[in-house]
C-alpha cells in the first residue's frame, strides 16, 4: 500500500462510514439475528453492542495480521475459529463482570459467532487491508452497530415499559405497549425506523433534484 494513502483523512473516512453511511443495521441490514432478540431494554442492547464490538475489533485485528498466511481455500473456517475464540472470551468476561445481564442474554452471546456482520467485515475488509485500517474500520462498524442496537433498545424500552434504563418516565398513568417488548415488537420497531430513514432519504434526493433543476 502506498505511503500517501495512509493519510489521516482516509483513516477518518473508514471510521465514519461505519457509523452513518454504511451503518451495519440501518443501511446494510446485517447482523439482525442477535440484535432483535436482545434489544427489549436499553441496557441489554448496550451490553450486546459492546460485546459484538469487542469481538469485531479483536478478530479484525487478528485476521488482518494473518492475512498473508491464511490460504484462500480455508479462509472462512479460519475466520470462524478466530471469531469463536473472541466470542468465548467475551462470554466469560461478561459472566465474570455483569452476571445478571449475562443471564438475560443467555445463548445470544454465543450466537455472536454467527453474526453475519462480523464475518462479512473480515471477508470484505480486514482480509484486504493493513492492520491500522482494519482496526479503524472495525471500531467504526462496532460503534455503528452498538449505536443502532442502543437506539432500538431504548425505543422499545421507552414505549414498552415506559422507562429508560429502568427509570420510569411517564408516571403511573402510562399504559405500556406490551407488544413492543415481545418478539413482534422488534420487527415492527425496526421496520418503522427503516421506514422513517427511507422517507428522509427520498426527501433528500427529491430536494437535490429540485435544486439541480433550478440551477
Amino acid at each position: 500500500m502506498a505511503a500517501d494513502e495512509k493519510s489521516p483523512d482516509r483513516l477518518y473516512q473508514e471510521f465514519v462510514k461505519g457509523i452513518w453511511k454504511e451503518n451495519p443495521i440501518f443501511v446494510q441490514v446485517l447482523g439482525m439475528c442477535p440484535m432483535l432478540a436482545v434489544t427489549n431494554t436499553a441496557i441489554n442492547a448496550l451490553a450486546m453492542g459492546a460485546a459484538t464490538a469487542f469481538v469485531l475489533i479483536g478478530s479484525s485485528f487478528l485476521v488482518s495480521l494473518l492475512r498473508k498466511f491464511v490460504p484462500k481455500e480455508v479462509r472462512i473456517s479460519t475466520y470462524i475459529v478466530i471469531i469463536a475464540t473472541f466470542v468465548t472470551a467475551a462470554d466469560f468476561l461478561l459472566q465474570a463482570t455483569v452476571p445478571d445481564i449475562h443471564r438475560e442474554l443467555g445463548a445470544f452471546i454465543s450466537l455472536i459467532v454467527v453474526n453475519c456482520l462480523i464475518l462479512g467485515r473480515q471477508e470484505a475488509f480486514a482480509s484486504r487491508n493493513s492492520v491500522g485500517y482494519a482496526v479503524v474500520d472495525a471500531v467504526g462498524m462496532g460503534i455503528g452497530f452498538a449505536l443502532a442496537l442502543f437506539m432500538l433498545g431504548s425505543a422499545r424500552e421507552i414505549v414498552g415499559f415506559g422507562s429508560f434504563f429502568g427509570m420510569p418516565l411517564f408516571g403511573p398513568n402510562y399504559e405500556p405497549w406490551v407488544v413492543m417488548i415481545l418478539p413482534p415488537g422488534g420487527f415492527l420497531m425496526l421496520g418503522m425506523i427503516l421506514l422513517v430513514m427511507n422517507w428522509f432519504q427520498q426527501r433528500k434526493s427529491r430536494s437535490r433534484e429540485m435544486m439541480e433543476k433550478a440551477a
Binding site: 439475528c33 470462524i80 454467527v114 420487527f187 418503522m192
Partner: protein, 192 residues
C-alpha cells in the same frame, strides 16, 4: 412420549425459531422472494440441523466433558463441515437448485438457527432423542416461516405500494405481523 410431542410443537410453533427467537433472519429476508427456493432452503437447513444436533450431543457427552470452554469452537467446526458436505451433495444432485440458492447455501454455516439448535439443546440438557426431535421441530418451524414469508412477498410484489415502504422496511413489518400471529400459538398448550 408426550414430552417429545411437546418439544416438537414447542420448537415448531410456540417458540418458532425465526419469529420468536429471531434466529435465521438472514436467509429469512434474503431467500424469501420465491416460494419454491424458500421451501428447499428450509429443507436443506432442517437436514443440517439434524446432523448438527447429533454432532452436538456426541461432542457434549464424550468430548467436551473435560474441556467445556471449547464448546462453541467445536460446534461451529461441526456445522461448517456439515454444510460443506451438503453443498457438495446439492451441487451433484441438483445443479439448478445449487444455482438458485447461490451464496445462501454456504451461508447456512452462519445461520444462527443451526448453532442455536445446538446451543439451546445443550443449555436445556436434552438427550439424543429429545435433541433430534427438537432439531426437527426447529427445522419445520423455520421452513414454515420461510415459506409463509415467501408466499406473502410474492403477493406483495404485484401490488401497488408506496415507494417509501418498499424493500426491507415492508418485509420487517410483514414479519412483525406474522410473528404476532404466531404468538397465538402460545395458548396452544396452556389448557393441557
Amino acid at each position: 412420549m408426550m414430552d417429545l410431542v411437546w418439544i416438537f410443537f414447542g420448537a415448531a410453533l410456540v417458540n418458532n425459531f425465526t419469529l420468536s427467537y429471531f434466529l435465521g433472519l438472514c436467509p429469512f429476508f434474503g431467500v424469501s422472494s420465491r416460494l419454491d427456493v424458500a421451501v428447499r432452503l428450509g429443507l436443506a437447513s432442517t437436514f443440517v440441523m439434524l446432523i448438527a444436533s447429533t454432532g452436538a450431543w456426541f461432542l457434549n457427552s464424550y468430548v467436551l466433558v473435560s474441556a467445556p470452554y471449547l464448546r462453541l469452537i467445536s460446534f461451529i467446526v461441526v456445522i461448517a463441515s456439515t454444510v460443506q458436505f451438503v453443498e457438495m451433495v446439492v451441487k451433484k444432485a441438483s445443479p439448478a437448485l445449487f444455482q438458485a440458492l447461490g451464496i445462501f447455501l454456504p451461508l447456512i454455516t452462519t445461520n444462527c438457527a443451526i448453532l442455536g439448535v445446538a446451543l439451546f439443546q445443550t443449555n436445556r440438557g436434552y438427550g439424543l432423542a429429545e435433541g433430534l426431535v427438537f432439531a426437527f421441530g426447529a427445522g419445520v418451524g423455520f421452513t414454515l416461516a420461510l415459506s409463509l414469508m415467501a408466499g406473502m412477498r410474492e403477493e406483495v410484489e404485484l401490488s401497488d405500494i408506496p415507494s417509501v415502504v418498499r424493500g426491507t422496511a415492508l418485509n420487517l413489518l410483514i414479519a412483525g405481523v406474522l410473528s404476532l400471529a404466531f404468538m397465538g400459538f402460545a395458548g396452544l398448550f396452556s389448557g393441557m
